[in-house]
């Protein structure tokens, strides 16, 4: 495994094309849950876990079942093997996988890490509707910009989740301070958070060109 490729994927998903700041994925929980460092960390870890697992399963699904001329199609459905089932089934099957994974993670956390489960409350179930998870599944398979195999797909999922966590933590730190400042009434909460995110995005633009 080319070590350079791992670094490249890492930098790409953490900084250059950060999922929240540059690709605009995962914004709803970003705005909703980033006012507290502990909540932000918990959410980030859970999302990273789900994204990595989701990348793994959806890539296998894509490569062996949905792709044109995949093993499943050529074995059982020779007539449509060339067209593949990607366009028809990608949305439905990916979301099915993600929803099940989130349910799985919920059960796991409830049993083994009950403190995190209680702290996250309803937001754990909302990871299902997190654009970032479905987004990374699509970016690994149907909208991939570079040659993908299982390992790069999983790595991309992992680092994308890490990028999400990074930005959540940064935002939480900023918002904890923002609470005490004299923000105009109409700007309190989401608007000022968006402005800060915009400035953060401006800073992250400085990473452009480091990886592609």
């Amino acid at each position: 495994m080319n070590f350079g490729l791992i670094i490249q994927i890492a930098i790409l998903n953490l900084f250059v094309q950060n999922f929240v700041i540059a690709r605009f994925l995962g914004l709803c929980p970003f705005i909703g849950q980033s006012d507290d460092k502990k909540k932000a960390l918990g959410m980030g870890v859970a999302v990273t876990f789900v994204m990595t697992l989701a990348s793994f399963v959806t890539y296998l699904l894509f490569a062996y079942v949905l792709k044109p001329n995949s093993w499943f199609l050529t074995t059982f459905f020779g007539t449509i093997a060339e067209d593949g089932l990607v366009d028809v089934l990608k949305t439905a099957s990916y979301i099915l996988v993600i929803a099940s994974l989130v349910q799985f993670v919920e059960m796991f956390l409830k049993r083994h890490v009950p403190a995190l489960y209680r702290a996250m409350g309803i937001y754990l179930a909302l990871i299902t509707t997190n654009c970032a998870v479905l987004g990374v599944a699509l970016l690994n398979t149907t909208d991939a910009t570079m040659e993908m195999n299982l390992l790069t797909a999983v790595l991309q999922g992992f680092f994308a989740g890490l990028g999400f966590t990074l930005v959540m933590l940064l935002m939480a730190g900023i918002r904890e301070r923002l609470q005490y400042l004299n923000v105009p009434r109409c700007m309190k909460g989401a608007p000022i958070a968006f402005l800060c995110t915009g400035l953060m995005a401006l800073a992250f633009l400085g990473f452009a060109g480091m990886a592609n």
Binding site: L61, V65, L66, F72, L73, F76, F77, T79, I80, D83, L85, V88, L89, A92, S93, L96, V97, S100, Q103, F104, M107, F108, K110, R111, H112, P114, R118, A119, G121, Y180, L181, N182
Partner: protein, 288 residues
């Protein structure tokens, strides 16, 4: 065409079946024994996750109520009906909770002198870290409004006199303001205690006289006046013993600094003033 349809249905169907089996196995492996009553109690709670009980959401409150660590009265937003049902569910005798409200135990604000000029984070907790805040009195309300921000029901506002005012109709006595006040001058107390000491200063009377127009100077006039021996000056501050107090309001009338509040008398005075303000207009209107 049909093979497309068949293929899609089969793939989705098989996928759903597989995932269903995995989840079913997982629900056995990760099974947690949960008291079914917790969910029933949670259904009865309002589900707003407002934090008014001081716990992190209704799920947490339900757990603690069933475990016996908290009484069902802990939820301020819950209707009396739902509360009675919770008591019934747990097999406990229903306890009527006394209506409570948050009240401010400081009469300073604009009436209290300032010793410094404070320029910094607009929060009482921050101000108190800098040489104890800008007020000359070490026990006074700082007036920057941490309680206003903490109240989840928007029941407090800072008035023109620099003190927090509680809108009693909105206050649910959740205690968020009490927990956040760095000087502990805003407290939750039973609504029926209509007479209370509006001062928290333990400074000697000479000092209080110089720095505050309405602070308790420990002159003991209230102690001498009280027919029930319910009010005593302890450590330079008048303290009411509510076990003995019959809420007659004599201490409030006699206090030279108006540091004891009898809210009924104040409400009557305000109502009278409001009526008098209207009256001069009425004869003029009758003439015309």
């Amino acid at each position: 065409m049909t093979s497309f349809l068949l293929g899609s249905l089969l793939v989705l169907g098989l996928l759903a079946l597989l995932l269903g089996i995995v989840l079913a196995i997982a629900s056995r492996v990760f099974h947690v024994d949960v008291d079914p009553r917790i969910e029933q109690v949670e259904e009865l709670l309002p589900g707003a996750n407002c934090g008014g009980c001081g716990l992190a959401g209704c799920a947490m409150a339900a757990e603690q109520i069933v475990a016996g660590d908290a009484s069902p009265n802990i939820c301020p937003v819950c209707s009396a009906d739902a509360r009675a049902k919770i008591f019934e569910l747990l097999g406990l005798a229903a306890q009527e909770s006394e209506p409570k409200v948050a009240r401010v135990l400081c009469g300073g604000g604009a009436a209290c002198k300032e010793k410094d000029l404070y320029h910094g984070v607009d929060d009482c907790r921050a101000a108190v870290l800098v040489q104890g805040g800008a007020k000359a009195c070490d026990f006074a309300c700082i007036g920057l409004g941490s309680c206003v921000d903490a109240c989840p029901f928007e029941a407090i506002f800072i008035g023109e006199d620099g003190l927090p005012h509680v809108i009693e109709e909105r206050c649910t006595a959740c205690g968020a303001c009490e927990r956040i006040c760095p000087r502990h001058v805003i407290r939750v107390m039973p609504k029926k205690q209509v007479v209370w000491v509006k001062c928290s200063s333990h400074d000697p009377g000479k000092v209080v006289n110089k720095i505050c127009q309405t602070g308790c100077i420990a002159c003991r006039k209230c102690e001498k006046e009280c027919p029930f021996d319910a009010i005593h000056v302890v450590d330079n501050l008048a303290v009411i013993d509510y076990e003995k107090c019959k809420l007659c309001g004599k201490c409030a009338k006699v206090c030279p600094k108006h540091a004891i509040i009898d809210i009924r008398a104040l409400r009557r005075a305000a109502a009278k003033a409001a009526k008098q303000a209207e009256q001069p207009k009425q004869p003029a209107a009758a003439d015309a």
